[in-house]
Symmetry: C2
Subunit: 385 residues, 2 copies
């Protein structure tokens, strides 16, 4: 297997993008990534998408986007791993380049959630859950996470207020990201006053429905070096693990086993331990998922993820900065695109292009999660001098 680097990144501003269609958003980020990589052709386009079949009545995105990006004829595939599909697309691209099959591959995540044709977004998001045993019983995806959060608060004697640092950190970081949906700070008082959407989850515990697209260009590291690309960012660990979709089938409710397994496999492949990771772009779909991700990946003991946040260790100055460009909460969460935005933002940090949010970093980790931790992709990225 060959070493793989990211040589191009492209993104759209996240938000309610009434001005652009699904395909227009995707093409914007694809062309931006090709421009950043300074390439005019590619061997394949790999797309992640979860919702377009439901919300936009459009499947078959691979060929569609290849065509509209001016790449008709190209190998193209589309991956679905629910909210983790962005991570799935990155991994499929990684495999394609590592295997020697492709020299240049574009990975694109795109989601258009504000346009809906006959299907409410909440119903579409429930595709990530077990249809027969959860969704059909009336459990929305927010409700599933509310059950998790309630249990966490009971089990570890944690108050709702204690989750606030996740939201405050995300919004603080979103301010410095020109592509973020909510570039404004949130106060503790605002967090407290936010409407409950599925008690104990309030509006400000929850990442927003959004439109957006992010793309990457991957190529073999040797090729990137011979092209003189610098600073170069390599993918030094790529892993995935799965768990049951339904929470009631899990061995342990409050431990994201698949997040743990995929993170530790990525550590093994990269030859590093959690304390060497300089920042962590995690899947903060809800504040509870941020806490559980920190615990699953070795940054906090069980029940201590919230404490890590309360102690400020997740801030840019902390021990393990998370959501450094705003995360799902502040940058916005165009579901599948988020998994690609995470890797893209890690590349920005490692290249030194994170503007006011820049941290000193050599190793970054991005984790994309489908369902409530049912399919979890972890990528570790390293700046190569």
């Amino acid at each position: 297997m060959r070493e793989v680097s990211v040589i191009g990144i492209g993104q759209t501003k996240v938000g309610e993008r009434w001005d652009k269609s699904l395909r227009e958003l995707a093409v914007e980020s694809i062309l931006a990534a090709m421009d950043d990589a300074d390439i005019e052709r590619t061997d394949a386009l790999i797309v992640g998408n979860m919702l377009s079949s439901r919300l936009a009545s459009q499947g078959h995105l691979g060929a569609l986007l290849a065509d509209f990006a001016g790449l008709r004829g190209l190998e193209a595939m589309t991956l679905d791993a629910a909210c983790g599909s962005g991570g799935a697309a990155v991994r499929a691209g990684y495999i394609g380049v590592a295997s020697g099959l492709y020299d240049l591959v574009i990975v694109c995540g795109v989601e258009k959630m504000t346009d809906q044709f006959g299907c409410p977004t909440t119903a579409a998001l429930a595709l990530a859950a077990d249809g027969d045993y959860e969704a059909a019983q009336g459990l929305s995806f927010v409700a599933i996470n509310a059950l998790l959060m309630r249990r966490y608060m009971y089990e570890y004697d944690v108050k709702h207020d204690d989750f606030a640092p996740f939201t405050l950190n995300a919004h603080r970081n979103a301010v410095g990201n020109p592509y973020s949906m909510f570039p404004r700070p949130v106060t503790l008082e605002e967090f407290r006053q936010a409407k409950k959407i599925a008690d104990p989850i309030g509006l400000l515990d929850s990442s927003p429905i959004a439109d957006g697209s992010a793309s990457l260009v991957l190529c073999p590291t040797d090729m990137a070096k011979s092209l003189g690309r610098s600073p170069l960012v390599g993918i030094v660990g790529s892993a995935v693990a799965t768990d049951s979709l339904a929470l009631h089938d899990r061995r342990e409710l409050l431990f994201f086993q698949a997040a743990h397994d995929s993170a530790y496999e990525a550590y093994r492949l990269a030859g590093v331990s959690p304390d060497q990771i300089d920042f962590f772009e995690l899947h903060d779909a809800f504040t509870i998922t941020a806490a559980l991700s920190l615990e699953a990946c070795g940054f906090a003991e069980r029940g201590e993820g919230v404490r890590l946040a309360m102690e400020g260790e997740i801030r840019r100055e902390g021990r393990i900065p998370i959501c450094t460009m705003g995360g799902l909460k502040g940058r916005g969460h165009p579901v599948v695109a988020s998994g690609v935005y995470q890797v893209l933002e890690a590349v920005e940090q490692l290249r030194g292009q994170a503007g006011p949010n820049q941290i000193g970093a050599r190793l970054g980790m991005a984790q994309s999660s489908g369902g409530s931790g049912a399919t979890v992709f972890t990528h570790i990225l390293e700046r190569m001098e």
Copy 2:
């Protein structure tokens, strides 16, 4: 890249399977394939699925099916290339094994079309087309193919009757396949009398809506040999190409450019020419797509695909037998599963397990098509002595 072989096959009977759910169908074929391969574990599960998000309100099939097949934790991914997703899953499995990433991978195609939750099947199938420029204008997928067929008849002076041999051949072959949906012959008179569903496409030009699942186990050829598996069937060519989704954007309406490009790339990889192919499992979603596939892949000149069928050359005794186990028309077309059934049936032929339908063959080709030839996967399989 390593050489790849198919060492296990498993399938369900195709039909209106009111007795089994989506996940039950998939698990049945997965376990049958593992049993046939005589394995108890695998490195990954790769699933192809197009319609479950629309019809069953269930996405995220990779992790779900891994869990229900007793393989929780496993790497799992799901691919969508519309009706070609079965071929996409085979190709992703092939890449995973060829790259050295996996030693054992299960490829599963599954579709449950008879259960519908609020979305008509015709609307769901339109996901394969261009949503904005075709489906939103009221063009169903059958209507799109009817336009193609009408133009073909006009352009090449062909009558509707002339397409009958495709249907008669498919049904004749379905009789010998215990897994087929319609194991009964069809006469020319029945073909003529069939109701028009989108003129000139009659009911018997069209493959049926169906439930079913097919699975394969892939592994490196060297490993299969060291395990003493015989007769062994290798995948000696795997390729994909894309075209515009919308027919009006094509350079040439009556030529499946992506089918041509993927077939010729597969020929190149396998080091063969079309005349060395002993049989061809093609994508006969409609009689017109069968004719156009034969022309695109070098078995007939333009406008001559129908003539090849009229001359009996597509029958088991003919020059290029097609749909040897019934094809999409006779075996049934559980959309994504069909792409996996095609490869599975090629393996049956090459292993000598095709029962009354057995032909003498060393090289078989399977082609899975998304949309009207917008994403086309071609696999060439060879019996290794």
